[in-house]
Structure formats: C-alpha cells, structure tokens
Amino acid sequence: MILSVHGLRMGFASGFANTRKVLVAVDAIDFTVRAGETLALLGESGCGKSATALSLLRLLPPTGRILGGEVNFSGSELLQLPETEMRAVRGGGMAMIFQEPATSLNPVLTVGRQIGEVLERHLALSGEAVRRRALELLDAVGIADAPRRLNEFPFQLSGGMKQRVMIAVALAGKPKLLIADEPTTALDVTIQAQILDLLRRLQAEHGMGMLLITHDLGVVAQMAHRVGVMYAGEIVEEAPRDIFFASPRHPYTQKLFAALPDLTRRGGRLETIAGQVPALSAMPSGCRFAERCPYAWPRCRDEAPAWYDAGSGQRVRCHLLAEPGRAVALAPDLAAAALARPAADVALLAVQDLRVHFPIRRGVLQRTVGHVKAVDGVSLELMRGRTLALVGESGCGKTTVGKAILQLIKPTGGKAQLEGRELSVLSRRELRPLRRRMQMIFQDPFASLNPRLAVGEIIGEGMSALGVEAQHAQRSAAIAALLQQVGLAPTSVDRYPHEFSGGQRQRIAIARALAVQPELIVCDEPTSALDVSVQAQILNLLKALQDDLGLAYLFITHNFAVVEYLAHEVAVMYLGRIVERGTVDEVLRSPRHPYTQALLSAVPNPRLDEQPEFIRLAGEMPSPANPPAGCHFHPRCPQATDVCRSAYPPTSRISATHVLRCHLYSEAE
C-alpha cells in the first residue's frame, strides 16, 4: 500500500471579505493505491477529481483549502508534514503529470534543465551525471535524438513530445506514485495511444503506483486496475476494472455507459442524464445524485447513502443496494425504431477541389515564401437530410473546410456549390439570401454566444439580418417556439448566456442556427467541449431535428464514437486532403487506408472485449506548411513503399460509395 487516503475533504474559499465562506469541493473521500497498481478516478468536469490530486501534493491554488482527512503515503502522514519535508515528497515520492503539456513546461528553460533540476533536487546528482541521466530518461520516454532535444526549448517540441518530456520530468525523481491528471485529453488519438502505451510500460518497469484522473471510459478500460467513480465531490462507486465494466452498480455509472454513442445505438436515442451536477454552493443533503436519478425515492433525498459492499472488491454508495427491489421496476428509456432515412437524390452541397492556402511571410520584407495548405483539394457531396462526418486529427484542416464552405474564409480555389449555385464567386450581398440556407454550430459554447446579449437577441440576430419574421410579435413567437424545440424554457429569452450551463448554451447556439430555417448545418465539433452525459443530450437533439426538419449536417469531429452514432457517410482527412471516404459501415467496419486503420485502432474503446490491436503510428502529423513529398502519410505509414515517397496516390474506388487515395489499392485495381 503506497497511498491510502481517508476522509479527505477540501474546498475553495469564495466571496468577498465580508461574506467569505468555503465551498466544499471534495467531501470525505477514501481510496488506496498499491505499488504497481493503477487506480483510475473517473468523473465529469467539476466533480473534484483534479482537486483531489492536487490536495495529495498540497499544491492547491490560492483559494483551495484542505479541510480534513488523512493522506498516508508510504508511512508518513502528508497533511501533517512540515512544508520542507513535503517538498522532498513532491517529485521524489510522488510525481505528477498535468493535462496541458503546452503550458506545463517552462518556456524559457531547456528540456535538459527542466529534467536536471529534479535530478539535482532528489537524487543529488550534479554535472555530467545529470546530463547522462537526463539522456537516459529521454530515451526511456521514447524521444528520438535525445542529445539534441536536451538543449532544445519546449516550443521546439510537438505536443506529444512535450508530454513525453513531462513524463521524463516526473520519472526523474524515481517516484513511487505517479499522478496523471488527464494526461492525454489535450492530445490527438494517435498520440494519446502512444502516451498511454508509454505510461503502461513505464509503470510495469518501475513498479510504480499510478493515480490516473480521467473522464474517458475508454482510457479507463485500457489503463486501470481499479476504478473509482467521482460525482459531485464524492466517490460513488469503486471496483476492480473487470467487474466495473461487466456490472456497474451505481445508477450514475450505468447512465454514463448508456450515454456513450456508438454504432450499436444508431438510429435510437442515447440515454441521457437529466439535469446537471449540483453547484458547490447548493449541495443536497441526501444522495447527491438523487435529483438526476431515475430510481430515486424519498430516502435518497433525506439520507446520504453509506458504502455498500457488492462483493469481489466492488463497493457502491447507493441505497439501491440496500433495497435492490427498486431497481428492476424501471426499464431503460431507449426509444427503439431505426429512423427511416429520407430518400436522397439531389446533392445539397457539392464541393470540388476546394483549396484554402494561407501565405507564409518571412524575411526582411515579409515576402510570401510559401503557403500553409490548410485545405488542399477537398471534394465532397452531401445529400439533403443526410449527415457527412469529416474526421481527422487537429490541424488536418477540417474546420477550415467548414468555414470555407460557408465563405467565412475565402477559399483559394475550387468550387463549393449549394444546390448547383456556386458560392465562392458571389459578393457579400449576393451571398446573403443563401446564408439562410446554410448555418454553422461552433465548438465552444462559451465562446459562441456574446455574453452581453440576452438569449432572445442572440437568436433573433440572424432573423433580423436575413429578414426572417420581420414583424416583432411574430418574431417573439418564433423565438419562443425555437427555444421549446431545442428543449429550453421560453422564459429564457430575457436571460443571459452566463446563466446557462455548457449543454444549455449549445442548445441556444443550435436554436440560433435553426432560426433562419437552414437546410444545411455545419457542426464544428459541437460536443467536444461537453461532458459525456450532456453530449448525449445534444446528439439526441441533433438527430431529432434532422428527422423532423430534414436537415443535412456536415459534422466535423475527431470522435469516432459520435461518427458511428450520427453519420451516414464519413470522410477522413489528413493534412488538408481527404484520404478515405465512404458510408459509415464501409469506413468504420472495413477501413482500407492505413491512416484510417491506425486512427480507428487508436481510439480507446470503453468495452473490455473489443479493443483491436493498436497500430502504432510513428511520429506526429507534419506541418501543412511543408507536407512530405509523395503521399503525405508515407513518413508515418507502416506499409509505405517507394512509390509512396514519390507520388501522391490517385483516387481508387472500392465500391460505388467507398473511395480512397492510397497506392496500396491503386495497384490492385
């Protein structure tokens, strides 16, 4: 037993001096971590999992307060240690990896220096020994050309490499416990797979305990030995991994699983969790999940449930285990009936060879020396009432495609036609009537609503700009109807965005797009900033709207689970070009392009049985400013041949709908 936490409570001070109080964020949690074991703390944003990790190291932000409890770390009581001894624990006994590798490294110190200072501090190394050990560490975390990297600064490294350096820093003090706080959330799937792989390997080699903090069931399935589920500052369920995935017992955990979108749920509705996590200032006295629990009965609201042992190491904080009879009464609320897909005949949107290049200016006179080819010849078609998912890693140009189609960014070349009408040649005035027919929903619900405008004004903006419902009374009625359509109370019109949660804000954004009755909506990662349970609500809403209104979606995402659930067709992008395109079944079930295959295999699957063999991709996506010659993918492709290095592959057609660009298939033809 390296770490045992008992009754840990912490909170945040809030309010002005005259009304200051402490809001409890983590309430009496217990857990243990053994050597060589990974405990995953799973929870949605704001549940207190990061605060827990920082409390262990006593590294809370200025407003954070530890209110009580015991943290026993290899024999010493951390909360009682004087600060000087605590410093020996930090980095030496317990090391931490943070979520954002980009900001967690000091920008003005070299990699070697940042690793070296841990070695000097905890291993009392100096001089040449520091350098040697730092090199070994960089090798161990899989950084090629370590001697050169040692003298580089963080900004010279890619995101994945920065996280590797962070891991090297953490390992340098030979810690017994590694705390990883969402270590891969900021990374792309292929890099995430590399990092998770690395963490697993290092843990086995060093026999470290690991506390993994994550919101991703897929990561849990891959990494954890045991799982603790946090909700509103409490751990509500704890179980060994296999049992956790086989039979989750807490209603919250069950709901989390049910809310995950994937292919098996296509056509149906996703299970959602009603309501939202209670605010810190208004914690219910009984079970904290009672408000959102389908099984809740009065006892849940009055009495906070104690731990119930469910056998074989699983324990749950839920009254249902004391009164198991109540659980069966409820059938899952999965609406059946696969949707009837509207017949698709005319292409609503046709994009041909679309290009968006941004000039790179360099030198004394800022001459254009090259172009960032963000989008470099993308062609796609979208039928009325259908969903085309545009999938790719960050920086592949998928968002730029969406904005270029809507003419928010002027395309450099190619065609984008809305029902045969070429968009890129139109002036702003000529474009205006067409703007009614195509709209966009953005990624960040906090940045996509103007904080200074009331909800009614936000939704009404497009209507007034495009002359929809010119009459005041009619417009108010229309806005009220829209709010109802997206599941918000009509009384919301006079309220302001800050009064709404992330999911509700995304509903407002959807209502704003719907207000002008468009036929095509470009959805730019509309759920990537949301928690799983809220994501399910939004996906259900989008699906229902498509069924009711016959909308066509261009759905930009990096999340394959969402693609499986929502899309009809998929296009996979790599470095500004579409490398594979086809129906969902074709692309996701039998991917042909090595990149698609690797991408799919890298997605951590939240089920234990189905994880395919992970295809390791070397390196990261190169910069679109100077893409590799030949096939853009060849430097990372495990099956690359000479021809891949010299020529970009032509289009190969596997079936009427399944198209890809890869030399492996052009030869077969």
């Binding site: 410093r87 943070f98 000091n106 920008p107 003005v108 110190l109 841990v118 030198g363 004394v364 800022q366």
Partner: protein
C-alpha cells in the same frame, strides 16, 4: 533572427520620417514664421521690417516646401523643410536664440544628464524589482497588503513633492549635501547623490506595483505548478522560473527608456540646477526658443525608436522563442 532585427530597423525609417514631418508641421505650418516673429518681438513694436529681419537671421525666410526661384536641386533643398527639418537627420540642428550651435550644446550637456539618469535608472530597477519580488514572495500576507497600500500612497504623491520634500529635509534641515549645483570633477557625487536618491524613491510606488502584478501573473501559470510539483523550494521557483519569465514583460517597459536617459529629466535637472539636457529643454521652453525645442523633440524620438529596436534585440536574449525563429 538577423532578418528580424533588420526588419525592425527598416521599420524605423518611415517612423522617423513621420516624426520629422509632424515636428515640421507643428513648428512651421500651425503657425507661420511670421506669427513666431511677432510673438518673439512682442506684439506691440512689431514692424514688417523687423519681422523680415528676424526671419532672415534664422533662415525662416525661405519658402516652406518648394523654392521655385532657386537653381537646380535648390528647388527642394533651399527650403525651410529641407534646411530646418530634413537636415536634422545628419545632426544639423541649427543655432539657438543665443547664437550657439545646438548640436554642440547637446553633446556637452549629455554628460551631466547621464550622470544623474543612469545611476537613477540602475539603482531604481534593482530596488523596485527586488521589492516587487519580495511582495510577490509573501503574497496574500500582511506584508504584501501593506506594501501595496504603501505603493498606492506613494504613487499618489506628485513628483514635485518628492523633490521639494527631499531638498528641504536633507539639504536644508539636515545639511547633508548641497541643495543644488553640479561639478564635473570627482566631487560630483555630493551633488548627484540627492537627485538620484529622490529619483529612485519617487519611482518606487508605481514600478513596484506594476512588477508585482507581472510576477503574480507568472506565478499563476501552469509551469510554476509543475516546478512546485518537482519539490523545488519557493525561492528557487521564484528566481529560476518566475523571474526568468517575468523578465520578458519587464524588459518591454524598461529597455525602451535606456536611450532616453540621455535626455535627462526635466524636473530633477531644473530643481537641482544640473546643466543637462533636461534643464536645457526647460530653459528653451520658457525662453520660447523654437529651434532648441524642435531639436529636442527630434532627438527624443530618435532615441525612443532606438529604444524600441533595443527592446526587440533584448527579447532575443531572454526569449528563446524569438532567438530561434
């Protein structure tokens, strides 16, 4: 990096031309030379002949922009714009009202100005950065709170009072150093010590508060948390991590003023009777000596632009992101 510096240098040229044109417009277009003559001669006993004589003595009798009557390139060069404005680029500032060469006067007065401004600058920077670091180190403690209160109080006091109070207390009441004056000899220190001290103290309030904000901003960043998670002591975190990063915004404000140190300080020099450029400017203002003021405006701008370029260069020392671009 070379291209970067070269680009900044090239960018300075249009700005200098702009500054030159602005000063020209201010001094010759807003008011005509005739107006200036009338003002200088006194409105009452002004005659057309006196005005013409006044203008001719100073070379203001030429056309402003184009001298159609002049031969050859003289069309452009034999004008007020060229002789009074464009020639400033080569260091020709003309003569002051008292007939002395302005350029020579400026070079001889730079020394005393620098003798005050440079120690004030260096000592001030050292003191304020140290104090700010101290407050940031003890952030959210009573020391920090009262330190900030003191800073706000100190920055609410006019610079004039620092000088008046300092002169009264130290020179008049305690008679420690002479109240004013200057010497080019070795004993200059006794004239310099008071103005330098006052210069440092009067700058403490606003600078300490500003630097403290910068430090606190850096302390809130993720990499500081990483450094603490390594088990480093707070002192090492402050000096190795926070100070290095905070130097970038601090340099922005500090390096710019280094060349301007040559210009001296208007207030200090006039109060302490230092024969530097600051008092030169003040005297010129009260004597309404347009030529001197015009020269000082131009030199000030040139020095400021040099400061901007120095700032850009200094970034390459503290910020590897620019050094390796």
């Amino acid at each position: 990096m070379l291209a970067y510096i070269l680009r900044r240098l090239l960018y300075a040229i249009p700005i200098l031309i702009g500054v030159n044109l602005i000063t020209f417009a201010l001094f010759f277009v807003v008011n005509t030379p005739d107006d200036m003559a009338r003002m200088q001669l006194g409105v009452k006993r002004v005659t057309p002949e006196a005005i013409e004589k006044w203008k001719a003595e100073r070379g203001y009798d030429k056309p402003l922009f184009i001298n159609a009557g002049a031969p050859g390139v003289g069309v452009l060069t034999d004008t007020v714009l060229f002789t009074k404005s464009a020639r400033m680029f080569v260091g020709d500032f003309g003569r002051a009202e008292d007939g002395r060469d302005i350029a020579r006067e400026i070079t001889s007065r730079m020394g005393p100005s620098l003798a005050i401004a440079l120690p004030t600058f260096i000592l001030g920077l050292f003191v304020t950065v140290s104090l700010a670091l101290l407050l940031a180190f003890f952030r959210a403690s009573p020391l920090d709170f009262w330190g900030v209160v003191l800073c706000v109080a100190m920055m609410s006091i006019s610079g004039l009072f620092y000088i008046i109070g300092g002169q009264y207390l130290i020179s008049k009441l305690w008679r420690l150093v002479p109240i004013s004056g200057y010497s080019g000899e070795l004993d200059a220190w006794k004239f310099l010590i008071l103005p330098v001290l006052i210069g440092v103290i009067s700058g403490i309030g606003s600078s300490v508060r500003w630097y403290r904000t910068i430090f606190l901003e850096e302390i809130g960043k993720d990499y500081v948390r990483t450094a603490r998670a390594k088990g480093l002591s707070e002192v090492i975190v402050m000096f190795r991590h926070v100070l290095r990063n905070a130097m970038i915004p601090i340099l922005t404000g500090v390096v710019v003023v280094i060349p301007l140190l040559f210009m001296g300080s208007l207030l200090t020099e006039s109060f302490f009777g230092i024969p530097g450029l600051g008092s030169y400017t003040i005297d010129a203002i009260s004597a309404q000596d347009f030529a001197v003021v015009r020269a000082m405006v131009f030199i000030g701008s040139v020095l400021y632009i040099v400061g901007l370029i120095l700032t850009d260069i200094s970034y390459t020392f503290v910020d590897p992101r620019i050094r390796f671009e």
